[in-house]
């Protein structure tokens, strides 16, 4: 029961409190680039969750059973980014070949994910936070869901922005960033939640 509680805390922490996009600034590129329409944002979010999970399933064993065992911890960055890049290619090929329907909906987002810092970030953070395998999977799932939530919420906000009058210098990216700030502020409010649960 205690374990389940801690897993749920890790999950919720990833979704709300440590939201990667809005609180830790990882994965800002897709957040600003692919959040114009709710549909695209959802597709990107789902693809990111998928790649993150697969990446965690591979990087955690690699770190524990290969890098740590042979004292190669300093190769972490190189190995992880290569694993992620290879995985993305691999997933793309597999999906194209065997699940064309899924490929059509997620395929376009996959190449963009290789260099998404949220994916590399979450795999490294799982190791630095000292999570075991199950905890890593849950924390990854939480981070991924948090990413999806932020993307979809922000896409909704952004679709309203198109019709809003705003000063010329503010048009485009500046006003997008300022609305991101307000969305981020609303997530900032979740900070107190975990303290209350823990106490």
């Amino acid at each position: 029961m205690e374990e389940l509680k801690s897993l749920i805390l890790i999950l919720m922490g990833g979704v709300l409190i440590n939201n990667y996009v809005l609180q830790r600034f990882l994965g800002i590129c897709p957040f600003l680039g692919v959040s114009k329409k709710v549909g695209q944002a959802t597709g990107m979010g789902v693809a990111v969750i998928f790649v993150m999970l697969v990446a965690t399933l591979v990087t955690w064993p690699v770190q524990t059973f290969i890098l740590d065992r042979f004292g190669l911890g300093y190769l972490q960055t190189i190995v992880f980014i290569l694993i992620i890049a290879a995985l993305v290619q691999f997933v793309e090929i597999i999906l194209k070949r065997f699940v064309p329907a899924l490929y059509r909906s997620l395929g376009v987002y996959l190449p963009l994910i290789t260099t998404n810092c949220a994916v590399l970030g979450v795999t490294i953070n799982n190791i630095t936070d000292g999570y075991n395998f199950v905890e890593s999977v849950f924390s990854t799932l939480g981070v991924g869901l948090g990413f999806l939530l932020a993307m979809v919420l922000f896409a909704g906000v952004r679709s309203k922005l198109d019709n809003a009058p705003c000063p010329k210098a503010m048009q485009g990216l500046p006003i997008t960033l300022i609305s991101a700030s307000i969305v981020s502020l609303s997530f900032y409010g979740f900070l107190g939640i975990v303290e209350n649960i823990l106490l």
């Binding site: 970030g121 485009g172 700030s181």
Partner: protein
């Protein structure tokens, strides 16, 4: 003559094509590492070192690296230099290493570095690429420092950790918190634009795929709706649907 050209390349990265404020690249570290000035300085310097080294290495190897697998090759080269910087910091400046945490490793996926490899280093000589890397790196540093300066002075009321008498009493902690990062960045870009650094260039202020590291493999249209040429030597082929899209938008206005 050559010297003058190099100086232009260098200054271009520093101001006119500032990677952060004008090209809008590397937004993640810009937002995450500007809560304090010391953080911003370390991030900027680390990224500059990696950028200069990786740009020179990629430029030196540009005839050897096969075109089809160049992106993975660039990533490996960059990751190697990031690891070097990580190990050096861990050994000699452990406190800064601790402070930067995961963001140090994430220099690997910083769009600026892969973007410069793709846009500049693979087409130019070693020395030019190193100068370009230095200019872009210092431009990145400058932008980070400007952001951190505003956020730390008004948000924390401190200057490199030293309290400023009046401002400390009336500090605005919001600015140091994550939402403040978005706010300051947005306003800074708007101010830069109003000052007209981009004057004479019809460049829309949208998040662009220009320099997005995945662009070479991506070729999709959904996020490059707003790609425009930054300047002539970066020949980005505008594909038809983009041209149509932008025409439609302008027609709509």
């Amino acid at each position: 003559m050559m010297k003058e050209k190099r100086l232009t390349v260098f200054l271009k990265g520093l101001i006119l094509e500032n990677p952060v404020l004008v090209l809008i690249l590397g937004t993640c570290p810009t937002l995450a590492q500007t809560g304090s000035m010391i953080n911003a300085l370390s991030m900027g310097l680390a990224a500059t070192v990696v950028l200069v080294c990786s740009n020179s290495a990629i430029s030196a190897l540009r005839r050897i690296i096969p075109d089809t697998v160049r992106i993975p090759c660039y990533i490996v080269i960059i990751a190697a230099f990031v690891t070097v910087v990580q190990l050096l910091l861990q050994a000699f400046l452990p406190s800064i290493y601790e402070m930067m945490g995961v963001y140090l490793a994430l220099i690997v996926v910083n769009c600026i570095i892969l973007g410069r490899a793709e846009m500049f280093a693979r087409k130019h000589g070693v020395l030019d690429s190193a100068v370009d890397g230095l200019g872009m790196g210092l431009g990145f540093l400058l932008a980070l420092f400007a952001m951190a300066f505003i956020r730390e002075i008004f948000g924390a009321g401190t200057f490199f950790g030293l309290k400023i008498p009046f401002l400390y009493d009336y500090r605005i902690p919001f600015l140091v918190a994550p939402p403040g990062g978005f706010l300051v960045f947005g306003i800074l870009i708007a101010v830069i634009d109003a000052l007209g650094v981009r004057r004479g260039k019809e460049k829309r202020k949208e998040f662009s795929c220009e320099g997005c590291p995945s662009r070479a493999v991506c070729n999709k249209t959904f996020c490059n709706e707003n790609i425009e040429l930054v300047n002539e030597d970066e020949q980005t082929p505008l594909n038809k649907s983009d041209a149509l899209n932008s025409e439609k938008k302008e027609g709509g206005k």
